[in-house]
């Protein structure tokens, strides 16, 4: 009898395991072969060379990295370094702008209910269902000295000539990236603010805290996890952005994705591209570590 029980348990355990393998296996396989394996290849190719017929020759050389960082005028005088630093700055500015804009809206969303809540949610989400590339094309005719924004401003009595901030350039890229990544920040902030027990806020008010104190000492600390997650989800994708600077920088500067893409499509320099991409993977990994420390998967739906 005992043996049969043990056998039954064993079968059940095996059955559970088989079921689990069947459930998670395909998805895990997908992630391993299409995310982890390619990343490993990317690292390998970054040390490889490309021969004259554009095939990858496996080797261990740091020449790609030298090419990234050592220019004709010395260390760090390369288009890659310039673009990388500029991309970091643009991403940081975009992240800051989305935080500043999304915080009040997210807070307001938590305080609303019923019809107003739905209306506001609808109003902030709909603009993101236009095709991304068409949206950036649309910014193209909004910006510029002849653009709609500047034309409208000049038509008013307050502005004499087109404003520099609405010309093509860094500001245009940051503004349209802020627009593009706003919902990521909004939704993560909203879900963490929504989790705050309003009783805590009322209690601190009863205990004599001013509104500013409540904001500073209660609301912000309690929503800091969502804030960090939101920042990561804006900063990292913004770093690798391609179409936006292509359309809105008008050749004044290039961001890192453009440098790498140009090298790969024009010179078939996959190895250079791979080495350069690794400098986008490092921020991705840091971001990933931060998200894993601060957020639970359940909160991200």
């Amino acid at each position: 009898m005992k043996t049969i029980d043990r056998l039954g348990d064993a079968f059940e355990k095996q059955g559970q395991r088989a079921k689990l393998t069947l459930m998670a296996g395909p998805g895990v396989g997908w992630l391993l072969t299409l995310i982890l394996l390619p990343t490993a290849f990317l690292v390998a190719v970054s040390f490889a060379e490309i021969n004259s017929s554009y095939d990858v020759v496996w080797s261990v050389s740091v020449s790609n990295y030298q090419e990234l960082f050592i220019g004709q005028d010395g260390w760090f005088q390369t288009p890659f370094v310039d673009s990388f630093l500029l991309s970091l700055r643009i991403s940081a500015a975009t992240t800051l702008a989305t935080v500043v804009l999304a915080y009040p809206v997210a807070y307001l969303l938590t305080r609303l209910s019923g019809r107003r809540f739905k209306l506001l949610l609808f109003a902030v989400l709909v603009p993101f269902f236009t095709i991304f590339i068409v949206r950036i094309y649309s910014w193209l005719s909004l910006f510029g000295s002849q653009g709609l924004i500047n034309s409208a401003l000049v038509a008013t009595p307050f502005v004499a000539e087109p404003l520099g901030i609405f010309e093509y350039g860094v500001a245009a890229v940051v503004i349209s990236l802020t627009h593009a990544f706003f919902p990521y920040m909004l939704l993560t902030l909203y879900s963490s603010l929504e989790g705050i027990d309003y009783g805590v806020i009322e209690a601190s008010r009863d205990l004599g805290a001013s509104r500013l104190e409540i904001a500073k000492d209660v609301v912000v600390p309690l929503s800091v996890q969502g804030l960090i997650t939101g920042c990561v989800f804006v900063f990292v994708p913004a770093l690798g952005t391609f179409i936006t600077p292509q359309f809105l920088a008008r050749g004044q500067f290039t961001m890192i994705a453009e440098v790498l893409t140009a090298r790969i499509t024009e010179l078939y320099a996959l190895n250079y591209g791979a080495a350069g991409s690794l400098f986008l993977i490092v921020p991705t990994l840091i971001a990933f570590a931060i998200v894993m420390r601060t957020t639970s998967l359940e909160a991200m739906g």
Binding site: G27, P38, L42, F129, V134
Partner: protein
């Protein structure tokens, strides 16, 4: 000015006359914060709708590149869209890729979501992290690394490569809502069904899946859209395959046929926002289930 006088002035500004004596800086801050928040939110909504409005308005304009000078209203741009065979073909191809990729992502993602939410196993912590990587990974890295992988295994860039790329890209959009929904799922419903004699699979099919299906549907729509509007991944792994975004990119770079872009985006935003409106309203009904 006496303190009380100043307070009553402030209180009138705040609009709470009954509180003349107790009005304080705090109330002012509060009023400013409330009105400021509404003002800011309205401003942000205007900012968010700026390109959308321009896309929709320009799609009906005679002069489709800029709003001024105003030359009249027309449906010519829609005619241009529906007579642009290259663009339509590319759009169909992209829709086909998006549908296939989102379907694959759903078939893989729903069971994966169940496994993560309901089972405890070794490596679960790592898996929970791995699932969000496609969302975090910049598109250019996914594009370049998959291009290298496909070269190594000798898969020529094209339809299959793009579907593979987009299906893994779409996976988090399915897994995350499923895990989130299962976390708040009332398991008494399943126990009830089991007590009434339903089998394990029967419970999942007849009870669990129907209840979490809005989460899956929302995930599918997001995965579909992200695939449909993706440029950088299909640019690297799409080879010579037609894709809507590649076609549009060429149109902008060579400024040719761009009048068809706004109508296309308008049609999509109408369809998706209608779906969103229904979904937001439907959630009310479904929350009672």
């Amino acid at each position: 000015m006496a303190d009380s006088e100043r307070h009553s002035r402030l209180s009138r500004l705040v609009g709470e006359p009954g509180l003349t004596e107790t009005v304080s800086v705090d109330r002012i801050v509060s009023a400013v914060a409330t009105y400021g928040m509404w003002g800011l939110t309205i401003g942000i909504v205007v900012f968010l709708w700026l390109p959308l409005t321009q896309i929709v308005v320009l799609s009906f304009m005679e002069n489709s590149a800029v709003l001024f000078p105003f030359e009249g209203v027309t449906l010519d741009n829609y005619v241009a869209l529906f007579t642009n065979d290259g663009l339509l073909l590319a759009a169909r191809q992209s829709a086909f890729v998006a549908t296939t990729a989102a379907t694959v992502a759903t078939l893989l993602g729903v069971p994966l979501g169940f496994a993560i939410a309901r089972h405890d196993f070794r490596g679960r912590g790592v898996l929970r992290g791995l699932v969000i990587v496609p969302l975090l990974m910049p598109g250019i890295i996914m594009g370049i690394s998959l291009l290298i992988l496909f070269r190594v295994v000798d898969l020529s860039p094209g339809f299959i490569g793009t579907v593979l790329a987009h299906s893994v890209y779409g996976l988090p959009f399915i897994v995350l809502p499923v895990v989130a929904r299962l976390a708040v799922f009332d398991r008494k419903l399943e126990e009830g069904a089991r007590d009434l004699g339903a089998t394990g699979w029967g419970v999942v099919r007849d009870v669990t899946l129907p209840i979490i299906s809005p989460a899956i549907a929302a995930g599918f729509v997001f995965a579909w859209l992200r695939s449909f509007e993706d440029f950088i991944r299909v640019f690297f792994v799409g080879g010579t395959m037609d894709a809507l975004t590649k076609e549009m990119y060429g149109m902008v770079v060579y400024s040719q046929g761009t009048e068809a872009m706004d109508p296309m985006a308008t049609l999509i935003v109408v369809v998706v926002s209608a779906a969103l409106a229904i979904a937001i309203n439907l959630r009310d009904i479904l929350e009672y289930v």
